[in-house]
Symmetry: C2
Subunit: 253 residues, 2 copies
């Protein structure tokens, strides 16, 4: 039984609390949350603390708070030489406090409070200062996920940037598609099968091979029709830049 | 039994031939293809023609060729007053020849020759000049798909632009994510669950509500770290523009 305390109450913290609670080989010791109510539905009342003096002993402390709060939260922990991991894609392991053994436990997935997820499918990217801590992290990760990777801080940074492109920016393009539909009284639902298929295609094809559309075909007639239809300057600018990028990429081949 | 002839041999034509052939209530009369070999695996040899004088009678002729070839292909048809539909998202119905009854049969999906698809899930957007032709199109569409929509030429244009954003541009962002991973020796596979989940999220959440990430949080520290990590000017430009767009969108709320 590996004992774990979660520090934080946001999206990632809540999904971790859930995944750990469901697992026979892991024990949720405590949840540290400034606002106890935010996690009251996820853990027994006596396990939820908001006072740093109440921390009990645990094998692993996972800090899951906003990126810029990680150093200060790590620094306020009242204990020494414990294993402390953060869950951020963009914060270096070194930014944790020197008082404790540093590690990273980064779930590479888009986690929303109001959307359940099969945690077994969430890739977990692990890093630790020493081998025995890494082994413990692996045991925890393998207990809750089928996709566990050892990723160093440099690799994690590049993964996080990639994730912004393939998830945050992609979702924003969905939003723009939705706006264009609304403007022209077309139900956005018609586009959902296309959105799903576009994502699933790259499970078997490389994005390079999966590319279709007017930019890929250098079909300037259609491209110009599209630009004429767009009324929003920001949408036009995004259309032009991404079209140019697809065309330039075709030239590189 | 509704009889249909397909004119063309590209991705969309091939998927249509497949879907029609599988359907008991539809009859594939002929396939017109300049290069007969390209569809030899999909239809009996005697049904494949490449000479316009060999067209037989059919209830519906579907032109599925490159957008800019649609008007000339429609004009070369040697018959009059037949129902002729094209399959394009961006060509107006009016661009078909006045010699025949005009219609549109637009499958809104990304179709690749080397990837099977469940055609029942492909949204079909229909348009016709008169009610009885529209009824026939609906019968054909409902026989091969569960998602049939009546969409006029103006609406279809906006749907096509939206589709470019949510599919072609999205796939290009997958490509950029893949490039960043390759550059930093990280397996792109780690990102695939995130890509799939990002797409499935909008089945239950609006893209607006599903948005996460540093731009949404106006987390300039992370944004600047990401820009510093990107070595490619084109990637930087796309990062900046989409980040600005997400931030500006947040201000509109």
């Amino acid at each position: 039984m590996i004992s774990i305390t979660i520090i934080g109450s946001g999206n990632v913290a809540q999904h971790l609390i859930n995944a750990i609670s469901k697992c026979d080989t892991l024990e949720l010791v405590q949840v540290f949350a400034r606002n106890k109510d935010s996690v009251a539905h996820l853990a027994a009342q006596e396990k939820i603390i908001s006072d740093a003096s109440q921390f009990k002993d645990a094998d692993l402390y996972i800090i899951s708070v906003a990126d810029d709060a990680i150093p200060s939260v790590a620094a306020m922990l009242p204990f020494q030489n414990k294993l402390v991991a953060h869950t951020s894609g963009s914060v270096a392991m070194a930014d944790l406090s020197n008082e404790n053994r540093k590690a990273v436990f980064y779930p590479l997935q888009t986690l929303s409070k109001n959307k359940d997820i099969n945690f077994k499918e969430v890739p977990l990217c692990l890093e630790a200062e020493n081998e025995s801590d890494l082994e413990l992290l692996k045991k925890v990760a393998n207990a809750i996920s089928d996709k566990v990777f050892e990723i160093n801080s440099e690799q994690r940074k590049s993964l996080h940037v990639s994730a912004v492109f393939v998830s945050n920016f992609v979702n924003h393009l969905y939003h723009i598609g939705n706006e264009i539909c609304n403007e022209h009284n077309v139900p956005f639902d018609i586009l959902k099968p296309l959105i799903i298929e576009t994502a699933h295609k790259i499970e078997t094809l490389s994005p390079q091979d999966a590319q279709t559309g007017p930019a890929k075909r250098k079909d300037t007639t259609t491209i110009n029709k599209h630009l004429a239809l767009l009324s929003d300057e920001n949408q036009k600018e995004i259309y032009k830049l991404l079209t140019k990028s697809i065309i330039d990429n075709g030239k590189k081949l």
